[in-house]
């Protein structure tokens, strides 16, 4: 590892004008050949490269990124981490991810500011509460800690919530995953990039993949805006653009791209300590360490590759937010953006081989890819390195769309993930 990150090294920098810090990841020219190329320098791609090097000893690895690393959905989400899933397949996957997150700051020597302030799901009706009882009990079956809360407990946890029984969507209870929370999204990308680079991975920005090199049916590399690069295996982790890359490789995915909006308000002194999700209104909100209220909601309603959201949906998001937090009405929206997410019918990912030999993919995370970055990288690295699916990824293969063995969390729980 290059220069370790610590309070001590910051002190040293204070004396030396912080001139001793090396690049977090060096800018490099692509080599002509790698063992593995990962297409997509978001969290998933960078994590894949890191785990290829760390878990599998593969260091002749490149990540090629069309723009700047972490600039896609990794940098455009609401930074929520959680593992509140109904199905054992999903619960195992996402809880493994959360566990990796719990050790990630030290593992990467980069503070990703994992903030496990608790994640509260609100119930707005007795029917909701019954659904949440199922959900919470299913989580316990999967070994994940969760508490059902009544109205008083919710009020205690989130005093800013409107708890009037006459509210259009009254809050009557909810459940809390104590280990849920947020992490600093940019730090996750940069931390993985820095740690991967330290293990020898090349991180190549401004490098757009324009075609796949093939030998017969088999993929043997990529043709990029910075030249031709060969590889034994190629992995795709390019959420939002998965279909575009699949198209270049000659196959289709069960994916449609949609815009997902989020916004942040101006910073205010602490007013909300937990992450609050309201399946009934579709809105979710947390307060960042900087003080802004980070607000997200449902998908836009038509396919899009434009990184901007529909104004109609924005208004709906904010109406839902103020329905829960009417005292936030005088707060001002500061920034508003959208990411392009891969929407799959069952809102579950695809991690494994593609119909094209030598080409593997990690896609389909829908609205919830950020929390899955560690496990997405871990499992894609596994299949790239070994050719075998990781056991955690076994249920998440393309084949399930043919057999009908979907892992449909949204359908079962009544909330989009």
């Amino acid at each position: 590892m290059t220069s370790g990150y610590s309070a001590w090294s910051l002190l040293r920098g204070a004396v030396g004008g912080h001139r001793h810090w090396p690049p977090a990841w060096p800018a490099v020219e692509p080599k002509s050949r790698y063992d593995v190329i990962v297409v997509g320098g978001g969290g998933h791609g960078l994590a894949t490269a890191y785990y290829l090097a760390k878990n599998h000893g593969l260091r002749n690895v490149a990540v090629v990124e069309r723009g700047w690393i972490g600039g896609g959905n990794t940098g455009r989400n609401t930074t929520i981490v959680r593992s509140n899933y109904l199905y054992p397949e999903s619960a195992r996957l996402y809880d493994f991810s959360l566990k990796l997150y719990e050790g990630l700051g030290k593992d990467l020597d980069f503070n990703i500011m994992l903030s496990q302030r608790g994640l509260l799901m609100l119930a707005h009706s007795r029917h909701d509460l019954d659904a949440m009882s199922r959900w919470a009990n299913a989580m316990r079956m999967n070994g994940i800690e969760v508490n059902l809360l009544d109205r008083a407990a919710v009020a205690n946890l989130v005093p800013a919530l409107d708890l009037s029984p006459r509210a259009r969507l009254p809050v009557i209870g909810g459940f809390l995953q104590p280990r849920g929370g947020t992490a600093r999204h940019d730090a996750v990308a940069w931390g993985y990039a820095r740690a991967a680079a330290a293990l020898g991975v090349d991180i190549i920005q401004n490098c757009e993949v324009r075609a796949f090199l093939k030998d017969g049916a088999r993929v043997t590399g990529v043709e990029t805006s910075r030249g031709r690069i060969q590889a034994v295996r190629v992995g795709i982790a390019a959420a939002g653009h998965s279909s575009v890359l699949a198209g270049l490789a000659g196959f289709r995915l069960p994916v449609t791209s949609y815009a997902l909006q989020a916004l942040v308000t101006e910073p205010i002194k602490p007013a909300l300590d937990t992450v609050v999700i309201s399946p009934g209104t579709g809105a979710y909100i947390s307060q960042s360490d900087k003080g802004g209220m980070v607000i997200g909601a449902m998908l836009d309603l038509f396919p899009s590759y434009a990184q901007r959201g529909s104004f109609a949906v924005l208004q709906a998001i904010l109406a839902s937010t103020l329905e829960m937090f009417p005292s936030f009405s005088r707060l001002k929206m500061l920034r508003h953006w959208a990411g392009i997410v891969d929407v799959v019918h069952d809102s579950s990912p695809i991690i494994g081989p593609t119909p094209v030999p030598g080409l593997y993919i990690n896609c389909g995370w829908g609205t919830g890819g950020f929390k899955a970055i560690p496990v997405g990288g871990w499992t894609l690295a596994h299949v790239l390195a070994t050719g075998e699916n990781h056991p955690l990824a076994e249920a998440f293969q393309l084949e399930r769309f043919v057999t009908g063995r979907l892992v449909d969390e949204a359908a079962a729980s009544g909330i989009a993930h």
Binding site: G247, P254, S257, F302, S310, A312
Partner: protein, 101 residues
């Protein structure tokens, strides 16, 4: 907020409509294979560029119709009845014209 020209009602704001996804899909017969059925149900071109899709003027006349829309610029190239093939101008446009980045 898209401005969509309903085939009956003229230009209206997006929130009067619902998007029904890709148009011109052919529904396989009952005897189709699982693979063919999966292609119909799930697998899409999902173009970054021109997309032929169907919309309904749900808060208006209720009609379904087809739209040729660019998925990056959101520009609408054509609106045509649900039972018709795309007009010639659409056929001439390459399906995945890369939009501005």
């Amino acid at each position: 907020m898209l401005r969509i020209r309903c085939i009956h009602c003229g230009p209206r704001d997006e929130n009067e409509f619902v998007c029904g996804g890709t148009s011109h899909l052919t529904r396989p017969p009952l005897g189709a294979s699982d693979g063919e059925w999966a292609e119909y149900l799930f697998f899409r071109d999902n173009p970054k560029g021109l997309h032929l899709e169907r919309w309904r003027h749900a808060q208006g006349c209720g009609a379904w119709f087809n739209l040729a829309r660019h998925t990056v610029t959101h520009e609408i190239l054509a609106v045509y009845p649900i039972t018709e093939r795309p007009p010639a101008i659409v056929e001439r446009t390459p399906p995945s014209a890369e939009g501005s980045r």
